[in-house]
Symmetry: D2
């Protein structure tokens, strides 16, 4: 950590700072510049609060040298983590595809969609039972009933299932019925929820918040890791921007940037990132080209009847075509598909 003093900081302020640093068992390294004085803090940065230093008289700025996340960092864990969701692997050269409707709907529709995406080569089946809708008047999901449908259809088609958790009080239900817990973009900084999710051992799909920096995202993963659950898969799903040509702005560079900062796998969700079916295929391929460890896509057999987010869903036949292109792309960038596929 580097502390830059104000140009008018007094010698007394400087000495008080040094004393404070040394009291904490750290060393202060003084560097008197021509225009400014700088203090380097030597030792374990986590013992000292940058916030408190910034509020200390005489301090102009504090520059942390190490990231504030530890367990999520590449430095702490140089090898990439591989998260295994009942055979569907993410990370470390493995790629898996998640597909399904935005919201769980009735059993027969779920069967039809699952059959289609399974045939197309998807590995994990998705569907929301508790839906975080921007309007209180929109369909809020089927709740527990939906989780049961999802579980039944997943079992029928031998696919692991993922569904979103929005409330710590639902966690037991979710853990009982699904193989992967999704933390949605709007709840990425719902720290009470993150702590609870971290107390389970169920793999977590953590979506990046719409205004989250990569550091924000990794700090939220850190919450889950710090509470004991190491199975976190990150997901880039578009961030806010001034251009409304697409619903959100798909930050494809987040994929290699996260791979450099962290050992955790990161997948892409071009459905939410773009909100436009025509842009989903090129963005899905771009994500894989950039190194994504998986692709999450919404598929519905009749978007105009979908109870949530219909306009951004691909039709099963569109998904099948895209999945084939994604497999070629993944092969080009040397990704490995789930084991059992070899038998197909």
């Amino acid at each position: 950590m580097i502390i830059i003093l104000k140009s008018d900081a007094t010698a007394a302020q400087r000495d008080q700072l040094i004393a404070h640093i040394e009291q904490l068992g750290l060393k202060a390294h003084l560097s008197e510049g021509t225009f400014r004085t700088i203090l380097g803090v030597i030792g374990d940065e986590s013992l000292i609060s940058a916030d408190q230093l910034r509020a200390t008289p005489g301090v102009s700025d504090v520059v942390p040298v190490l990231p504030s996340y530890k367990l999520a960092s590449r430095e702490a864990h140089p090898q990439p983590s591989i998260v295994d969701v009942k055979g569907a692997k993410f990370g470390g050269g493995h790629i898996s595809f998640i597909a399904g409707p935005c919201a769980v709907e009735d059993h027969s529709r779920m069967q039809a969609i699952a059959a289609a995406v399974k045939a197309a080569g998807a590995h994990v089946f998705r569907g929301g039972a508790y839906k975080p809708r921007t309007s209180p008047y929109s369909f809020q999901g089927m709740g527990l009933e939906g989780l049961k449908v999802l579980r039944a259809v997943g079992d029928e088609f031998d696919m692991p299932v993922v569904s979103e958790v929005t409330d710590p009080r639902h966690l037991d239900q979710l853990v009982e019925h699904v193989d992967m817990l999704q933390v949605g973009a709007r709840n990425m900084q719902n720290f009470a929820l993150l702590a609870e999710v971290g107390r389970t051992s169920t793999p977590v799909l953590m979506k990046r918040g719409m205004s989250a920096t990569l550091t924000d995202l990794l700090m939220c993963a850190e919450y889950v890791l710090a509470h004991g659950n190491p199975n976190v898969v990150l997901c880039e799903r578009g961030i806010k921007s001034f251009d409304t040509a697409t619903r959100n702005l798909f930050d494809v560079a987040a994929v290699p940037a996260i791979h450099e900062l962290s050992h955790l796998p990161i997948i892409v969700d071009p459905s939410h990132a773009t909100g436009r079916p025509d842009l989903i295929p090129p963005c899905a391929l771009a994500g894989i080209a950039a190194g994504a460890d998986g692709v999450h896509i919404e598929v519905h057999d009749c978007p105009a009847e979908a109870r949530s987010d219909g306009p951004q869903a691909l039709l099963p036949e569109q998904y099948a075509e895209l999945a084939e292109a994604m497999r070629s792309m993944a092969t080009l960038v040397k990704k490995q598909f789930p084991e059992h596929e070899k038998e197909i």
Copy 2:
């Protein structure tokens, strides 16, 4: 609602849309342009899903004419709402000041700060007992113990108190101990929490999310209103921007813009908006000049020892000076202070 058809939409697609609209008991008004065909939907827009229409073959775009929030809208409720927090009034020409430390700390420190802000003219005392911190390693708040301290100090100084709720499981505790529930920026779209808060009758201070549009903010207020709680005070506290000169970007125009869209009061929080003590006074005054119904400011008697967000806190003496300027400004723009002040 206006439906714009694609330039290559077929007559069959057009007729199917009209039939769909009429089935819902609405009327479709056809307008064949030189380049595009447009359908006006006449009747209650809420009967029809814009999302489903956008996913319908032949549709290029859907333009809603009415806002998607109803209870929060100015059209539904032309007179400004006045939210009364035990005598501190917000809205309809009334202005109140909220002040206190970021986090509740020990009893004697809380007493000292409360005494100072009360003397300076603050009306509501604040302090977080459950803190949503970006790092799992940071101080997470004193919890129930903190709520008790806050309540006791509020009672001692005869000030209503406000504290943040971050988890639906804490709501009973909060409602028992505080006079106003804060929903923080990071939980603005935690819809499970909003629904629960809406089931109480405790006034709510709803902070704008860091990437929330004004429509997003009003939709979240709508959640609380729709669940039965009409006592919502909105709060502009800065949004994300590309410029890191300030922590967030203080959107002062949100104040008059919200006043036009909604009857709900809106206050400003220059502490979080700027993150810099030197910018808090000018931004507080700007907020009042723009019509804010209140000002929320963090005050701490020793920022370098604060357990959370010290660098952005004002010292008691800085707050006293600012409060005086805020009172002159509020008088200039013809705001009314809480009744009991007249007796002081």
Copy 3:
């Protein structure tokens, strides 16, 4: 064009609007909704000013139905345009690679870099002679002398050359020495410059401004087209965002989105988009996967000595490796390389 009236618009205001529309030779199509009245304007939208309508009493909003760019639109020109820069083709299935240093430097260094990028498979050689630097104290480019060096080295290695124009007074020089004129991101809305560039017939590389929407970008292309120069290649080079993890935010979805809106080719510039050498290769590949018609990359043989933007340059050996991967990627998405390559 659709005009939405205010809920309190009078019949007189409505009739005056209709009269105004009909005076211009257009038809007004009235649609009285339950809550709002809507006027559809039928005929050539360009005859009427949306701005003036918005300022007209009784008008709540104006929704244009057609894009404001015409010559650049896909509707006006359904087939993709192919821009040919002395054999290097962009668009319509053709892909070309542009490479070279940020700024033109001395002759021998330029020869060394040109030799390297040519060997790696680049088609167009780049170098700035007039540099738009954010600091007046930074190296501002070699000017005319630099253009001469660039031309000589281009001729020596049989590569067309591209360089940036920043001032209408330099245009004659530029046109004389280069095969493609770059309009930089900071000058994208320098309309005086765009008009002059439009009066030449030299192909133009138009970089997207840092806060330009896709509509803004196409309107700037429209300036060049409307002044008579049809040879415009667009370039996505990153836009401003709240996350400083990368210098700018690489908007890869702009590639397919532009392809839908316009017939003009669009290439990607991962060097400026990310500002980090480690992110350039994955983003270059992502751009091609998303359908880019070319890739622009900065290459320098000694970044630590570069007179401008060294840190974001690839070394020649890094570029060679990337170029090979880009060729495989381009082949996978069925792009065609410049003709003469077949002879190599």
Copy 4:
């Protein structure tokens, strides 16, 4: 300047860096941390290129300690600058109001508007003769003819005049006819133009670019100052944001933030910042409350007939009412009006 080495930097890389720094006549101060090595550069930072250092092997990051602008900085010039435009003073406690139509129109309309804004208390009359329009098909301004009208009307009403310069080739015309040169937001980083403007001695009104940070803005002012013209007035006119509720986002905190970083005056332009007449008055007042040294507002006597930007113009009677409120507000924050007003 602080150089942070990579965790795997070698001793040889470190020594080479130190040698490089010392060759430039600077001193390197080594600080070996537990996890990272840091080098402090002692001496004149401007002798060394941060960009080149960042591209040097072994370097992880470079943190400049001093701002890159010098002449514009508060450190270089602790007293606020006062820019005098023929008696209308900006800065150092002085406030002036600029008003007029977006574009210069015919003589009689200009007379009517000038008479109205003069009567309301405006000090400087504005009007664009060269208009940077986003569409090549929109009215581009009256050119030289417009400058003559502006000059004549300014003289008639004894008001200094300001008009925008968009092309270095027009500068002689502009300097001859106007008292203040406006550099528009879209040309803020048109460095060729800035250099030319810097070679004149005419006061400059420099508008902040739509995606310019405060540092970007001050670097552009630095261009003008470095070329010899010290008379720069900055202008906050809204920046890009994800919320389209207002045309741009009015960054009122920029006013006090600039006052801290620089001695240059800064005014606000709520017309462009919000694009909505109803939001102009509250934002104008907020700007003054935050310390603005002037207010720029567009006024037109018939917005529905304006040849440019009609919808955002105030009517003369609206301006008169606002001007009165602005005067009260300026008095409250202890600003001083131009001298000659005392005689009124």
